[in-house]
Structure formats: structure tokens, C-alpha cells
């Protein structure tokens, strides 16, 4: 099979099965890309995860672009990336439209309300992971609480204070923390 087509179909599958996004879908991508198709090695895959944490863009999109480029050049990257997001965007739009037009049904309204609460819980879970990564450099806290990164804690609290008090543009916060990181960690 044409490699571009194969990339498209594989990432269409990944996109369709990856509910919840973020760290939850890492094993799924790994299975398809490393184990099943052998497009990249385990080591390169770990590198991609690190790159994704540090660069803009969703993990799934970053991985599909990277793998697509390695395997099939620019066309491969486009095929993999579009395959990866196609199902999600279509289903999101359909579901949102459905909710908007069926709000008079108590069942639909309550399911949407419930999903709101549950997804907030999941956002908190993701925030915890990010906070642990920032403060400890890993996503699971060990028994060594002394390894806490005090500089990161200080920066986190300062940024949070600024955000709550002045509500600045999030991009300004990213720029300030980037410059602060450069000044404090160099």
C-alpha cells in the first residue's frame, strides 16, 4: 500500500480511538507507530513526547507530523496530521450541534451538565500532572519531597498571583515565565 495512504489510515484510527487527549493516548500511539508499523524507534518516540511537552500543539498532532515527516516527507506529514484530527472535529461539531438543538430534553441537558463536571475533573487531573512535572520534573511524586524545585514553585505562585490579581493575557504569562526560566535556570 502507498505509504501516504497507510499513514492517513493509521492516524485516522489513532484519532478516532483517542478520547480524552493528552497523556491518556500515549500508549495507543506507541502501539500503532512503534510496535505495529515500526516507523520510529522507542527512543525517538520518547523524544517526541518531550518535544511535545515543550512546543506548542497537541501531542497527537505533533506525533503525527513528526512520524509523517520521517516516513513520507511533507505529504506524509499532511496525510498523518489530517487523518489524526478529522474524526474528532467532525464528531465534535455533530455532538455540539446535537446538544444545541436538543436542550429542551432533560436527559440531554443533564448529560451535558454531567460531562461538564466530569471533564473539569479531568482538566484538574491534567493540571496536577503538569504541576508535578514543573515542580518535581516527573509526573509521579516519589518519597523524596526534598527534590522539590523551589525556583519552579516560586515562579508558579508568582504567576498565579499575577493572574488572579490582574487577569493578564495568557500569552504574556507564557513570555514572562519563559524569560524568568531563562534567567533563573541558565
Amino acid at each position: 500500500m502507498n505509504v501516504v495512504l497507510k499513514l492517513f489510515i493509521t492516524f485516522l484510527k489513532i484519532g478516532l480511538l483517542s478520547i480524552g487527549g493528552g497523556y491518556a493516548i500515549i500508549p495507543l500511539i506507541q502501539e500503532q507507530v512503534v510496535e505495529k508499523n515500526g516507523w520510529i524507534s522507542e527512543k525517538v518516540f520518547t523524544d517526541i513526547i518531550t518535544i511535545s511537552q515543550m512546543t506548542p500543539g497537541p501531542l497527537a498532532v505533533n506525533t503525527s507530523t513528526f512520524v509523517g515527516l520521517q516516513v513520507g516527507g511533507v505529504m506524509g506529514a499532511l496525510a498523518a496530521t489530517i487523518g489524526c484530527i478529522l474524526c474528532g472535529v467532525i464528531i465534535s461539531l455533530a455532538l455540539y450541534h446535537f446538544f444545541q438543538t436538543h436542550l429542551e430534553s432533560v436527559y440531554v441537558l443533564e448529560v451535558l451538565n454531567g460531562l461538564k463536571s466530569a471533564s473539569l475533573g479531568l482538566i484538574i487531573s491534567a493540571a496536577f500532572t503538569i504541576l508535578l512535572l514543573a515542580l518535581y520534573g516527573k509526573s509521579k511524586p516519589g518519597p523524596d519531597f526534598l527534590s522539590l524545585d523551589w525556583t519552579a514553585l516560586f515562579m508558579f505562585l508568582t504567576m498565579l498571583f499575577i493572574l488572579r490579581k490582574w487577569k493578564p493575557n495568557p500569552i504574556v504569562v507564557m513570555l514572562i515565565s519563559g524569560i524568568a526560566g531563562f534567567a533563573l535556570y541558565r
Binding site: P56, V61, L95, L120, F182
Partner: protein, 187 residues
């Protein structure tokens, strides 16, 4: 006609901008969308945003791309969704193309890693700020069921490591059951 093209151009620009700064995973798009669509331009309300975030989260694929498309849809229909989706894809495509060519050099650069390490703390602060606001909106509804769902799904995912799709499915089931029981009580 002119009005719609203006909207498309605005969506294209704002989504390019947001996507270029989506560090640290898709959720960071939520405060960004809030800033530009809700606070600055008042295209929709905070309530709408929470609805969209819930849908983007509960469907497959990348949350950031789903949310951008939904926001575009809300502002300018299907065309808006299409423009937003493409705009959200361009920055990661370009950046990853660049990085994949130089990624060994990129990683050994201490200035880059120091700045990125700092940004992690910034991302964490942005998330906590967003969560505080979203929690207060849900708690305002004064529903024990909905309030309890927040810590429950957090524990299920973070502590117990249960699959996200399962958590969301179970949540839907609980909601339907709850409405069903309430209706039967009234009868």
C-alpha cells in the same frame, strides 16, 4: 459578504496565534479561547465555553483542535469551523517540521531548555487559574450531584488511572439514571 470574510480573517489570525502558544497540552487552549472569544470580543459567554470544552473533551481527537473548530463554528458556522481548524494546525505543523530537522541540536541548547522549563511553571499557573474560575461556575448551580462529579472524575483519572473514555461513559450513565429516578419520584 464582507462581514463574513472579516470574521474568517479574524478567526484565522486568532487561531494561528492561540495555536502557536499552546504549550503543555490541549487544555491551555481553554483560557486562551476565553481571553479572545469571551472577554475581548464577546462572541459567546463563559457558559458556552464550558459547554464547548465539555464536548471537545468528550469526543475523540485533540482537544485543542476540537475546541478551536467549535469556537469557529459558533462564530461563523461550518466555514468558521474549517478556517479555525486549518489555522490551529499550521503552527504545530511548521514548528515540528523545523524541529524534526534539528531536534538533536535543539535539545542540547541550554538557553532553550531553561526557557522551556520556566514556561512549565507558567502553564501550571494558567491551568490553576482557569480551574478556579470554572469550579466557581459549576458550584454556583448548587447541585450536589454535579459538584461531586468534579472530585470523583479527578480521583478516577489521576489516582486510580481509569481510562478517560470509561469515566465519561459512566458519567453519562449516571446522569441518565439520575434524571430517570427523579422523574419516577415525581409520578
Amino acid at each position: 459578504m464582507k462581514e463574513i470574510i472579516k470574521k474568517y480573517v479574524w478567526l484565522l489570525a486568532v487561531n494561528l496565534f492561540i495555536s502557536a502558544f499552546t504549550f503543555g497540552g490541549g487544555y491551555i487552549v481553554v483560557p486562551m479561547v476565553r481571553r479572545f472569544f469571551v472577554v475581548k470580543k464577546q462572541h459567546f459567554t463563559e457558559e458556552d465555553l464550558i459547554n464547548m470544552a465539555a464536548v471537545a473533551q468528550s469526543t475523540p481527537g485533540a482537544i485543542a483542535i476540537n475546541l478551536s473548530s467549535l469556537a469557529g463554528y459558533k462564530v461563523a458556522g461550518i466555514g468558521g469551523a474549517f478556517v479555525s481548524c486549518i489555522a490551529a494546525l499550521i503552527p504545530p505543523l511548521v514548528i515540528l517540521t523545523f524541529i524534526s530537522a534539528f531536534y538533536k541540536i535543539f535539545f542540547s541548547n541550554t538557553i532553550v531548555t531553561a526557557a522551556l522549563k520556566g514556561m512549565q511553571a507558567g502553564v501550571a499557573a494558567l491551568m490553576v487559574d482557569l480551574i478556579a474560575d470554572m469550579c466557581s461556575i459549576i458550584l454556583k448551580e448548587k447541585s450536589f450531584f454535579l459538584s461531586a462529579m468534579i472530585p470523583l472524575s479527578f480521583i478516577a483519572n489521576f489516582v486510580l488511572g481509569i481510562n478517560v473514555a470509561l469515566i465519561l461513559l459512566f458519567c453519562c450513565f449516571l446522569c441518565i439514571l439520575q434524571v430517570f429516578l427523579k422523574k419516577r419520584e415525581r409520578k
